[in-house]
């Protein structure tokens, strides 16, 4: 609430042929406020006056909103206004019964997130129990996980990974920001001595396939739907 007059100062600077920072901030603010989805810096740049310093604008906006009821946050490498986390108690009443994930689904999601790209067999190995197709379908349905490709291995199993939507939902800027990732890596559970036929040094949701992955084929993309139809209600 300390600001207000900073606009005026900025407008003065426009006299020296630098794009008006204050005006660019207003535009960025309007664009970010108006958008239903996070916006990337490039997208913003493309719609701001020529020569606007997008990085500075985002920095200033983030600082301006830092202590307020609405914050500018970075999710999935993009920018979005969201209500401040500490105010969830007043806003929770807005929630129209958010579907809770089962424990099995949450664990499966965590394994996909931390170990991606990962196959179903690998998920099952970690959990020591069969994963119902319904669980994976539910996760596919949330839009948080996706089919990545096929592992170059006998049976060519499908590999799973997370989506940008996953990062958005959990308020993560990048997959490296997963909570407890450092501990997991430090404990050597993700890399190192785990006696298993797979070891993933660092989770990666990079769109590009890894060396041991083949692209999906046309039919693969239909598969989850089929699975879903045939096994609806399994979960």
């Amino acid at each position: 609430m300390e600001e207000t007059d900073d606009m005026v100062e900025e407008q003065v600077s426009s006299e020296i042929q630098v794009p008006d920072h204050g005006e660019a901030m207003r535009i960025a603010e309007a664009l970010l406020f108006a958008s239903a989805e996070p916006l990337g810096a490039e997208e913003l740049a493309g719609r701001l006056p020529e020569g606007a310093d997008v990085a500075k604008i985002l920095e200033d906006l983030t600082a301006h909103y830092a202590g307020r009821g609405v914050n500018l946050v970075r999710v999935a490498g993009k920018w979005q206004f969201r209500t401040a986390g500490d105010l969830s108690f007043v806003l929770a009443r807005n929630v129209t019964e958010q579907r809770r994930l089962s424990r099995a689904a949450m664990e499966t999601l965590a394994i996909v997130a931390y170990h991606q790209p990962v196959t179903r067999a690998e998920i099952e190995e970690i959990r020591g129990v069969a994963t119902s197709k319904g669980t994976l379908d539910t996760l596919m349905e949330t839009g948080w996980i996706r089919l990545r490709g096929r592992r170059k291995a006998p049976g060519r199993p499908v590999t799973y990974g997370t989506t940008p939507h996953f990062l958005e939902h959990f308020g993560l800027d990048a997959i490296d920001d997963l909570p407890g990732l450092e501990e997991l890596k430090g404990a050597g559970f993700i890399e190192g001595r785990v006696p298993s036929d797979f070891s993933v040094p660092v989770p990666s949701d990079d769109q590009a396939l890894r060396e041991d992955e083949d692209p999906l084929e046309g039919d693969d993309l239909l598969q989850p739907l089929d699975m879903h139809q045939s096994e609806a209600g399994e979960e």
Partner: protein, 266 residues
Amino acid sequence: MAQPLPFEDGAAPERAESEPALLVDVDGFEGPLDLLLELARRQKVDLHRISILALAEQYLVFIEEARRMRLELAADYLVMAAWLAYLKSRLLLPEPPKGEEPSAEDLATALALRLRRLESIREAAKKLGEREWLGREVFARGAPEPVVVRKDSHYEASLYDLLSAYARQRQIRFNARVSLHKRTVWSLIEAREALERLVGHLNDWVTLDTYLVEYMVEPAMRPTVLASALSATLEMVREGKLTVRQDEAFAPVWVKPVTDPAEAGA
């Protein structure tokens, strides 16, 4: 999950038959690994220093108890029990000098690592679940203002498109008129009438074709005239009004009126 397990101290206490079966409830567990993890936690020691031997024993006791009470156990649990029984025996016996197989210690370490990995991912899942979820703890703009896309149509067309459209359109019209002529057919009725007229003049064999020439001034009419005439001829043969013969395949067809009904069908 919160159900008390009957082997807090690694030993199965004696239980009376009357004790509730809930004590050996596997419903709360997500498979044998989960059960092992829970048993391990009950050792109240760091997973790094867990006694796999003690753990194996507890697991086997648990399974024994469950079977004694005739609980249905998923195959997974029994497979794990068999494997742990094997591991237990390997751990208790002196190691063979130098086996091809991994040592019992290695197997135990591997199991301990799997438990730790499951524990870590559980922890990770918990932390993930505790984050502020969009739409649960934090909210995006409730009334986003969509970008209005003003569509400015820019039409593309070439002179070639224009001329071919014009030519096509105009040409369809005059071609359509021509094709109407083409479609003219000599109907069976017309053929029959013509033949009946012909037959009146005949008294000897004559090739059909000769008499149809009159109707074949237009080359396009030839097939329909011939087909209809032949059909009409055969019909009249059937009625005993005509006799027809052909000396060989594709040779001219000869017709002759039947004057004497006895000749019919010859």
